[in-house]
Symmetry: C2
Subunit: 238 residues, 2 copies
DNA sequence: GAAAACAAGATTGGTTACAGAATTGTTGCC
DNA sequence: GGCAACAATTCTGTAACCAATCTTGTTTTC
């Protein structure tokens, strides 16, 4: 308890409490990491493409050391490969790795819908169910893949959000950023969009019923189906 | 009094040992990352402890830029937190996060034993089953936790190896390096070692029978049991 | 005597410069 | 004409340096 009485400020006192403590949340390096992640995921940087340090430092106007730190982080995530004294290249994914990814994704996506079903009232899935049984059907019929993928992203985002598990979310992100490239190739395979839609509707119906176990089982079945499709057309997409 | 004294000796030549080392395998930074990971997992660096850049660069004889790159990678993994202008500290894990980790670990460990059971001949699990029904029982009775954990690590390593899925292995590692700290606290909880041993024997028996589904279900039940134990004694271990 | 104000030290963040290695282009030889 | 050795350029890896900020210790004032 300060026994101070009637203290005179005596000075403007530079009220710089904490103006911009940490800039805008993340460090500048964090932003660079996000941009490169997105660029790799969107295939703007093809697998095997060389990532020059000076090139990126000039493009983003950041020092080369920051590019280097970003490379270190991306290497840990498995998105790039660094060869000593030869630079960094975008990681190429071999088919075996893709199948391993799908085996892992199966259980993670299953857990995601299970937790989501348990955590939120079952009525909250009605709008997504309406979306998938209505507009999404037409998107598939008209081969409007962009709209279809947008709806799919909604389902994905809502599920992760409802699951409320940041650890699970991070792992699904880690997988998603590696397979996003493939989605554009899988979706155009004959009959895949239709089957995927049917399976998603089944999952959503289970979630709408509040049946978490069924939702998990159906989601896992959906992942196995996607993997099987991928295997059937392996020579065309991988 | 600013004693603007003589400048730093500036290290005349001091040619560092010829780094012909950086050719095979990983970069020197990769090694530093591994060492720090292990140090954090083994609790040699307590949560909240400060990690000095110059301190580590001197200890390992690596340039400070490499320490920073390692920090960037470890931050991506969630093992440390970097506060602008204040350095890096070992990440502290809050209870909610631990439970999220266990929920995620449940499905991953389940998938691991399922794949392991499917991939290798069931007879290959006999030695582990003998270990768990024989010596491990005595370790528990004698409270020889070191020997117990060694056997547990064997089970873990063999399962991951047999599963043959590097993606899954990486995610389990990511989880393991965060929870290893807790294992030493859980294992000493009353009755936990006994129950964990019983559950592991049940899992191994299922694997010995070649029953992958049962092994997965039992392993998941084991994880839920561990989580429940953690919740019961939350105030003591977290 | 206590709290605020001030100053000095220490640490991190970011920039520049230099050495080593690899790729590439050139030239000479077979 | 092709191949090999060599030189030049480019790029990575490392080091040193400067600036900004936080921490700590001291002083001043009420």
């Amino acid at each position: 308890m300060p026994k101070k009485s009637a203290r005179k400020p005596l000075k403007p006192k530079a009220p710089v409490v904490r103006p911009e403590r940490a800039r805008h949340g993340r460090n500048r390096t964090g932003h660079l990491i996000d941009v490169l992640r997105e660029r790799i995921a969107k295939q703007e940087a093809a697998p095997g493409a060389k990532l020059g340090e000076v090139e990126l430092s000039l493009e983003f106007g950041v020092p080369r050391t920051q590019v280097r730190e970003a490379f270190s982080a991306l290497e840990q995530r498995g998105l790039i490969e660094r060869i000593p004294n030869r630079g960094a290249i975008v990681a190429r994914l071999d088919p075996a790795h893709v199948f391993h990814i799908y085996d892992t994704r199966e259980v993670l996506e299953g857990a995601c819908v299970r937790l989501a079903t348990l955590n939120v009232p079952k009525e909250s899935w009605q709008d997504l169910l309406d979306l998938f049984t209505g507009p999404m059907q037409r998107y598939v019929e008209k081969n409007d893949f962009d709209a279809f993928l947008t709806g799919y992203a909604q389902f994905r985002q809502r599920s992760i959000e409802a699951a409320g598990n940041p650890v699970l979310a991070q792992m699904l992100d880690s997988i998603y950023e590696k397979t996003q490239v493939l989605i554009y190739r899988i979706i155009i395979l004959p009959g895949r969009a239709q089957q995927g839609l049917r399976e998603h509707i089944a999952v959503l119906e289970a979630m709408r019923r509040g049946d978490a176990d069924a939702a998990e089982a159906l989601r896992r079945e959906n992942m196995r189906s996607a993997k099987a499709c991928l295997r059937n057309f392996q020579k065309y997409v991988l």
